[in-house]
Symmetry: none
Subunit: 208 residues, 4 copies
Amino acid sequence: MESDHRKPRKTVQARSQKTREKILLAAERLFGKKGLHSVNSKEIAAEAGVAVGTFYNYFPDKQDLFLEVFERHSMEVGRVLDGRIRDEVARGGGGREFIYGLVKAVYEAHSLSPDFHRQAEALKYSDASMAVRRKQERKEAHAKSVALMAGFGDKLRITDHEAAAEIVGLAVESVVHELKMFGSEVSEFRMLKELADMLTRYLFRDDT
Amino acid sequence: MESDHRKPRKTVQARSQKTREKILLAAERLFGKKGLHSVNSKEIAAEAGVAVGTFYNYFPDKQDLFLEVFERHSMEVGRVLDGRIRDEVARGGGGREFIYGLVKAVYEAHSLSPDFHRQAEALKYSDASMAVRRKQERKEAHAKSVALMAGFGDKLRITDHEAAAEIVGLAVESVVHELKMFGSEVSEFRMLKELADMLTRYLFRDDT
Amino acid sequence: MESDHRKPRKTVQARSQKTREKILLAAERLFGKKGLHSVNSKEIAAEAGVAVGTFYNYFPDKQDLFLEVFERHSMEVGRVLDGRIRDEVARGGGGREFIYGLVKAVYEAHSLSPDFHRQAEALKYSDASMAVRRKQERKEAHAKSVALMAGFGDKLRITDHEAAAEIVGLAVESVVHELKMFGSEVSEFRMLKELADMLTRYLFRDDT
Amino acid sequence: MESDHRKPRKTVQARSQKTREKILLAAERLFGKKGLHSVNSKEIAAEAGVAVGTFYNYFPDKQDLFLEVFERHSMEVGRVLDGRIRDEVARGGGGREFIYGLVKAVYEAHSLSPDFHRQAEALKYSDASMAVRRKQERKEAHAKSVALMAGFGDKLRITDHEAAAEIVGLAVESVVHELKMFGSEVSEFRMLKELADMLTRYLFRDDT
DNA sequence: CATGAATGAGGGTTCATTCAT
DNA sequence: AATGAATGAACCCTCATTCAT
């Protein structure tokens, strides 16, 4: 009787969506734990509680699944980051305070599935299609930085905003990465404080 | 007695050494182009102009070969970097000038087999044994930074030398990486200049 | 709910079982013909009419497959032997007649896949894990012999039952082996008769 | 100067012979320890203290080397056995005593390189060319047995000498094998005693 | 004769993907 | 839509044997 047409459609779609979700979550966990190359389709299916065939009903192949997980992850990070930035902007603190807020915002955004994040990062180096996406991400980050800077007008000491946006972005990214991915002998607090100091002195005339 | 052995022995050893070298170079090229996982033993052998078996006569397995290539690469980078740093120290320029010299030194050191470098970097994220080596490298870099800073005494503005060393190291590393690995919309010159500016303002009281 | 699963499940399992069986039978044939070391996984798959991968879906490796074939073979031999012994015991013939019956029982039990049996025998000498199994088999055979002897009470001439059980077991085993594995210039009938004579005279006071 | 012809020839041949011997002995040790299939040419060469190429200068291939080791081993066993039998014959003991002497003779003959012996035994089951040699061995043993029996004339109880020779040979062989190859829960002494008892009762009218 | 580097066919095993049920 | 058995190309690695020195 389940083969009658109209009504169940929605339910079925809902179930479908759920299955898809299960697979994506399982993949995120496993890719994070072991990396793209060390996870096989059987494992993913098993972790998701479905059959291998089911997995291939939803995703054309493993690489594609990875990319989708990555996309979701990126968007989530983006959303969180944007939210935090908006908060900081709203608070409207002075230079140093603001910078510190931003640094912490990035730090917190990176706290989402850091394991998966790490593996994705790895692929950006070795996988062509990931490298493309990385490029895009940087571009967006760059635009965001430039826009933020513009808001500070004369208070800025820098002149080459383009280059500065890149430099600042990379510095923040790398420090946060390091802390999240590999940890540090120095405490996170000291690291983030120094990072904020560096950026403040670099960016603002009055570096207090 | 039995002295008829000497000479050929040496020749043979020389040939042996040459073969080893051929394999290492072929591996560096291929690993750089495609990454550890996408290169197979047959390819390496073919690129080196030897048989698969020969490859396995010299290296216990592919991973091991990669590590040896990596080790050589690291040491080479280290040598070049140390040399350049020594030059800069010898020249004895003032703060900003010196920092710029160092930044350029790191940049040049990264110009050795940047493709291989990129792939090695990728593995540091996903491969356990590579992560270990990464840790060590950072430790050494950290020590080097701290030592260099010490030389500046009162001129330094920073107080938390430990954290600063980390931050500075990561910032330089990440910018140079970005330029070498992925290029940049902004010219290298502008990027390196801004980087030097940032570091100078961060580190020194008198940031000229 | 979800009851649409039941039937196909069973069918699939049945197919699965059949594939497993096909592989086991193919393996028994090939191992018997050429020995463990001279058969490769591709051959086994081909003989079973499946792909190599399928073989590895069912057995973790070649050695394991061999052991399973061996286990099945041993159990089958054991079953046949026990059946025949029970028949002989039931018939309740006198000493010589009974012994002859037992000898023939062992002979018949060894008629199952004698080729495979031969190869398994070979491995008992050279392979550690097979040697272990051999030990166990002998122990069981020993126990069986002792039990049978006990049934004859005073009629027995021997005093050291333990040793006798070993000796008798080995003698029977070796003669049957020889006949089955390598054949003999002398007819099987004469061989088995003499064997029975020997054992009868050895075991019983009244050796008729 | 070593290229002058006449004199060194002998010396060279002697050295040659020594090298051959080293290889044969190394092979016997290794084959005994690990079996034909688990020993590779490099190992053999290393154990013999020569280069792989040298090994192939003396033997066309690994199989051939094995066969030569086997041949030597067989002949040695044969020599020892014949000697011991001659001793027993010379001593001229009565039936049971004589049989016991023979059993012990076989036992002692099997004490030469029992490890190698075991591995050779394994190959007789699985290797065609070894099976051939086995056949020959049995034939010779058979002939020997028949000849020995003939010496006892009327004292013998058996009538089918041919079959008896086979049976007796197999029984002795199997028991000795078992003791030497796998050991036994029952002491060797008891085992050999029972074996001798069995044979004596089987063969002689007056079984004391 | 001795050497040991070089060879490459061949073997065991994995795994992304397909497809009949 | 779900299943999971089946597939086979591809991979890593071994090792008997050869041959230039």
